[in-house]
């Protein structure tokens, strides 16, 4: 059934849009809020965590490096305090001291004794450095000036990167300096222990940005200048964190702190992408959840909207059907009443015509004795004509009586009827007529046919009407041989009694089948039917709470199916 007009479709579209919009937006707002708020707090906390953990690493390593340097310095100070210059200036002693120091820490490479002129007077280690003059070296100047010095990394005579710790002892002519070289490899290992994620690394720069340690990414070698250093924001506080993009466009998260009285800077850095990889994972997961969530919301909303709309449409159609039925019922009632009033009024003039006719008849009889032969012939004509008047008046009165029966509101006595009792009685009434017309009556009344509620005489009227119609149709097609009229009863859904009356008569044409229950519709010749029979039947069955349907094939027969609600306990 597709009878939606463009206007209805338009309204449907509007309703659909409005429902759909609401169904999407309403869950969408809390959904986005929840995701957004959760995401904000999660990322903030993650960022704080990452920064805090970098700060902690920097702080731990600063302490470790500082204490390492302090310890090595303390080692040397112990030696300078415990031994005299002359004692150390003996090969065996200095070797023994060096061995002992190496036991203290594997970081010591060699040990050397210097006089105030910077001459390397005694040396213990693997390089040939004894006798060389260091008076112009930066470290020597510094140690002579400050008493103790830890150098940056430099190449020196051995042409290898290293750094030294030097301690001055005594004063004036008795001044001497003890110097130890620290293994940069050992030192580097200590720093490069720092491994965070895939790209996290730690390294040391001096205050001019010269690299003091190996680094994991190893794009800048020891003693090379770090080009990034110039742009570092120099920390005022103990540990400083910032984000910086390097020349290749990679963003790094930095944590830096000063070491060694702002001589060195400990740098811990990690690619931002790596440091925040959980954050990015969270972002991706969030995005996926969001997209999926929105998709689910849209799909569900569309689905539910469709269901709601279908429901609305169904209700609309039901309402329309109900409305049509009501209109039809009201029209039927109106037509019935009108017709009844009309018929009643027609009866009075008919009565007068009848009297006039009777009067004329009597006068004509009187005259007939007084006229000649020719007059008699005319009189016959008049009598014939009068006969017609009588026939036509009777025909009118038959019609009005039929209409009045249709409009009659008799008292209806509803009672329990058993189809197995009432139907055979009614069939009995027509058996004679059927026999005359050569119609075979087939009864298939199932014994367990349920009882229903109705008025006996009304039910009888319905059945007789259907039987008579069927027999008329059969006679029309078969004459007086080969007719078949079948009456069946059965059950449907345990709720309805079905009475089916099938004939093999002329059938009903498709254009007529929709109209056969309408009042005054008839296919019978003029004067043979009022067109009220089936509409009365229809009304009666409806008043029993049942329905009546018809199926037919032209020139093959018709079937009338009556469904009546059965009595339920």
């Amino acid at each position: 059934m597709n009878n939606t007009t463009p206007k209805q479709t338009h309204t449907g579209d509007r309703v659909r849009r409005s429902i759909l919009t609401n169904m999407i937006i309403v869950p969408f707002i809390p959904f986005i809020l929840a995701i957004g708020v959760g995401f904000y707090y999660f990322t903030t906390s993650l960022e704080n965590n990452t920064t805090a953990s970098m700060k902690r690493i920097v702080s731990d390593h600063r302490n470790m490096i500082e204490s390492f340097l302090m310890e090595r310095k303390a080692d040397l100070e112990f030696v300078t305090n415990a031994f005299q210059y002359d004692e150390i200036n003996q090969k065996e002693t200095i070797d023994a001291i060096f061995e002992n120091l190496k036991k203290q820490s594997g970081a010591f490479i060699d040990l050397g004794l210097f006089d105030p002129q910077g001459i390397h007077v005694r040396y213990s280690g693997k390089y040939e450095l004894q006798g060389k003059t260091y008076a112009d070296e930066l470290w020597f100047k510094q140690v002579m000036q400050n008493g103790a010095y830890i150098s940056d990394i430099f190449l020196g005579y051995r042409h290898l990167p290293h750094f030294v710790i030097a301690i001055k002892h005594g004063s004036g002519k008795n001044t001497w300096v003890l110097r130890a070289t620290i293994d940069t490899l050992y030192f580097d290992r200590m720093i490069s222990q720092v491994r965070i994620g895939k790209t996290g690394e730690a390294y040391i720069l001096n205050k001019d940005g010269i690299s003091q340690s190996e680094r994991r990414s190893s794009n800048i070698q020891v003693m090379e200048k770090d080009p990034e250093f110039a742009d570092f924001s120099k920390p005022e506080e103990a540990i400083h964190t910032f984000i910086k993009t390097d020349s290749s466009g990679i963003k790094y998260l930095y944590a830096v702190t000063w070491l060694k009285d702002k001589e060195w800077m400990l740098v811990v850095r990690q690619e931002k992408k790596d440091a925040y990889r959980f954050l990015y994972t969270a972002v991706y997961i969030n995005l996926i959840i969001m997209i999926l969530g929105v998709a689910v919301i849209i799909v569900v909303a569309t689905f539910i909207t469709d269901r709601i709309l279908k429901q609305i449409e169904k209700l609309g159609r039901e309402k329309e059907n109900l409305g049509n039925q009501l209109i039809r019922a009201a029209q039927l009632a109106e037509i019935g009443e009108m017709a009844a009033g009309f018929a009643h009024e027609i009866n009075n003039p008919l009565q007068i015509i009848k009297s006039e006719h009777a009067l004329i008849e009597t006068f004509l009889e009187d005259i007939s004795h007084k006229i000649d032969e020719k007059g008699k012939r005319d009189l016959d004509e008049i009598e014939d004509s009068l006969g017609q008047i009588k026939i036509q008046v009777n025909r009118c009165s038959e019609i009005t009586h039929a209409i009045l029966r249709f409009g009659r509101k008799n008292e209806i006595r509803l009672e329990t009827l058993n189809p197995c009792c009432v139907i055979p009685e009614i069939i009995h009434m027509i058996e004679k007529k059927a026999e005359v017309h050569g119609i075979e009556i087939i009864k298939q009344l199932s014994e367990d046919s349920p009882e229903f509620i109705g008025d006996t005489s009304q039910f009888q009227q319905v059945m007789l009407n259907l039987f008579n119609n069927a027999m008329d149709a059969i006679t029309e097609r078969h004459g007086s041989k080969g007719g078949m009229l079948k009456i069946e009863t059965g059950m449907k859904d345990e709720k309805f009694l079905i009475v089916k009356i099938t004939d093999n008569g002329a059938g009903i044409s498709p254009e007529n089948i929709g109209k056969i229950f309408s009042p005054f519709f008839t296919t019978k010749p003029v004067g043979k039917g009022t067109g009220l029979g089936l509409s009365v039947c229809y009304g009666i069955i409806e008043s029993f709470g049942g329905t009546m349907e018809v199926t037919s094939e032209e020139n093959a027969g018709a079937a009338f199916i009556i469904s009546l609600p059965v009595i339920t306990q």
Partner: protein, 137 residues
């Protein structure tokens, strides 16, 4: 032997005239009245055996007229003339003592037949009354 004397009551003037003529031609005496009131008026002054009464009339309708006739002249027999829609009121009429009813449009022969039956009944009752009076005397 007494002859049937009847009265037709209907609001259709022409029907009264024609039917009266016909009945007279058949040899019976007939009165006509155009309303219930007129019928009662005429009954007061003349003897009538059978009244043929239309159910639907302006003013006093058939049933009211019937009740009045039966109350004042219980021996007068009444035949109701009814359209189909007023069959129920015809049944009321039978309860109120009408002799019978006829469906419009009715043939004159039917009317006469029923009227004669009614007349016969009336004569039987009058006979009984006479016999009863004889016994008393």
């Amino acid at each position: 032997m007494e002859k049937l004397k009847m009265m037709l009551v209907d609001d259709e003037e022409r029907y009264l005239q024609t039917t009266a003529k016909l009945i007279e031609k058949k040899g019976y005496e007939v009165l006509t009245a155009g309303s219930g009131e007129e019928a009662l008026e005429k009954l007061r002054v003349q003897t009538v055996h059978v009244v043929v009464l239309d159910m639907k009339m302006p003013g006093m309708d058939g049933n009211e007229t019937l009740k009045a006739i039966k109350a004042m002249y219980p021996l007068v027999e009444v035949i109701m003339l009814t359209g189909h829609a007023t069959v129920d009121s015809a049944i009321d009429g039978l309860r109120n003592g009408a002799f019978d009813y006829l469906m419009k449009p009715a043939d004159l022969d039917q009317i006469l037949e029923k009227s004669l039956d009614a007349f016969e009944k009336r004569q039987r009752i009058e006979e009984k009354i006479r016999v009863a009076q004889m016994k008393i005397l």
